[in-house]
Symmetry: C2
Subunit: 324 residues, 2 copies
């Protein structure tokens, strides 16, 4: 039971579960254990999750939600830590969601390498939680969306969603954020090649971390080239250099994130949240569609043959397929 | 009536329309006017199209269907002409479908610059037809799929599908081919940048045409880099140089195409055709889904809010959305 420690840790709150309003109020005053309990209930989609979400609703829309994605080895965790430190210097409160779809362990797994940051663990302006895939009803992204709401309602100014890998699950999680930072680094062998094309496509900001390395400029050029492909399609994506270990470039990164996020924050909160939900639904619908199109079925074969015979149009066949 | 000329041209066949079998038999003997009539009926999805398709069915599966796509200015038409000439030297018969989604004119539009090729126009081993978007019930790809069937049944060994632009419509058409050749050239400014990423993703073979130009090697390197991204994902895409105007490299290109196509040709014809139909249906379904997700509707907003309240899972919401 990987989540047991979290439950034990907050078991003194169990009697308050009936009083959702009280729990939320305590979270709103900055009480860390209350926040932890709310996050756990939402993460696990417990029975009280719907009531909790309803109670959080009046407090939503304050936080800027920022995704950090990139291949392993680029120093993403160190960079996120540096961004947290920079944000705290400005008095900005931060929630961090660390997502590891490959890990079966939740509630502290990837935070291991964060234990160095004891200063932050004693700082009530920072709240961190790891999410892992096991135990998440309906996928990691819906759980992340609920925990984003929890940290938003808890009053965090920034919610950083850090993903460990660079696979589709991580891209999916990043899609539900307001600003997507894709992190690379020199010396990964073929840097750009290691970045799955799906990652480059979702980036609002590209970062070359470990920029003190000799081959940083090559990586910058490669990324600038890749971004130029997109610039051609009408989007301008900034490419920044950072050295997370010294903090160099991190101030500029935070500023660029906040500039990129100002548009999202100006938007109506319900529209913003609906956009996240729409992404979750779209993703689930695409998966359903792929299942129906990918599985060998006599009904689908017959539908294909009808299209080939010009008996039905592809559009009509699609309508029938969607109806299931 | 852009298609009138084609009708006039074949009006002497009108009395045979009731005898579909006779028309198909004449096409099978290589009679150009019969082929032209069959293609026109299928292209326009006329009343007799379903009967025609049924009559063609026994003769399907012989042709290798090859898509040629790439940005304007790379010399695609010249390259396709060179491939035709090379194929004819080997005794290979060729059907050509030229696709121009931006053109409202059908039945000869893009073939203008082919008029030079009078030798080919007198060669019964070559049949060409332009498709344009207007008048195509249900999109250009379904029309292209039907015309592919016509030229396949007419006994062509190779069916080349050449698209004029490099937009989504062209990518869609290319998707229904067995082998996809994506053509680039040096001196387009930013070559790779001009290639929409969607194009690189569908390529089975990449060609740098106009390879006698000074900067051809730069383009080769850029493409090799782009292909390496995919190689990283497990696919090996050959990158070839051609000079279409002199024929250099065209023999190797044709050989590479035929190698790439051998797997497709070994496959059961009905499976191959169903895959094309499945693509048409998948494309139509994705469009339907995008319409339902993209349009502002109170029902969709309510579905999103339910997901955000954890009232329904994204998967259940998706099922409801698909049911429409």
């Amino acid at each position: 039971m990987p989540e047991q420690s979290a439950i034990t840790q907050t078991s003194s709150l169990a009697r308050d579960l009936k009083d959702i309003g009280k729990l939320v109020a305590r979270m709103r005053t900055g009480e860390r254990l209350a926040t932890s309990r709310v996050v756990t209930e939402l993460e696990r989609l417990s029975d009280v999750a719907p009531q909790l979400l309803a109670a959080l609703e009046p407090y939503l829309g304050h936080a800027l939600v920022v995704g950090f994605t990139g291949p392993p080895g680029v120093g993403k965790s160190t960079l996120v830590n540096a961004v947290i430190a920079e944000a705290r210097r400005n008095g900005t409160s931060v929630g961090v969601i660390a997502v590891d779809p490959s890990s079966p362990i939740s509630g502290g797994a990837i935070l291991g390498d964060r234990l160095r940051m004891t200063a932050m663990l004693n700082d009530d302006g920072v709240f961190m939680r790891s999410l892992a895939s096991r135990g998440h009803v309906g996928g990691l992204s819906p759980a992340a969306v609920r925990v984003i709401d929890a940290l938003d309602a808890a009053g965090k100014d920034l919610v950083l969603v850090e993903t460990v890998g660079a696979g589709q699950a991580e891209v999916d999680v990043a899609e539900v954020t307001d600003v997507r930072v894709v992190v690379s680094a020199p010396g990964l062998g073929d840097d750009i090649q290691a970045m799955k094309s799906g990652l480059l496509e979702i980036a609002d900001i590209l970062v070359v971390n470990k920029a003190d390395r000799a081959d940083a400029d090559v990586t910058m050029q490669q990324l600038a080239g890749a971004v130029a492909v997109r610039a051609h399609e009408g989007s301008g994506v900034p490419v920044l250099k950072t050295i997370a270990t010294t903090g160099e470039g991190v101030g500029e990164l935070l500023q660029t994130i906040q500039n990129a996020g100002s548009k999202a924050l100006a938007e109506d909160v319900q529209r913003r949240r609906r956009r996240r939900a729409r992404y979750l639904i779209a993703h689930a619908a695409t998966k359903l569609l792929e299942e129906r199109l990918g599985s060998a079925s006599p009904a689908l074969d017959e539908l294909c043959d009808e299209v080939l015979r010009a008996g039905v149009s592809p559009g009509e066949a699609a309508r029938r397929l969607l109806q299931g």
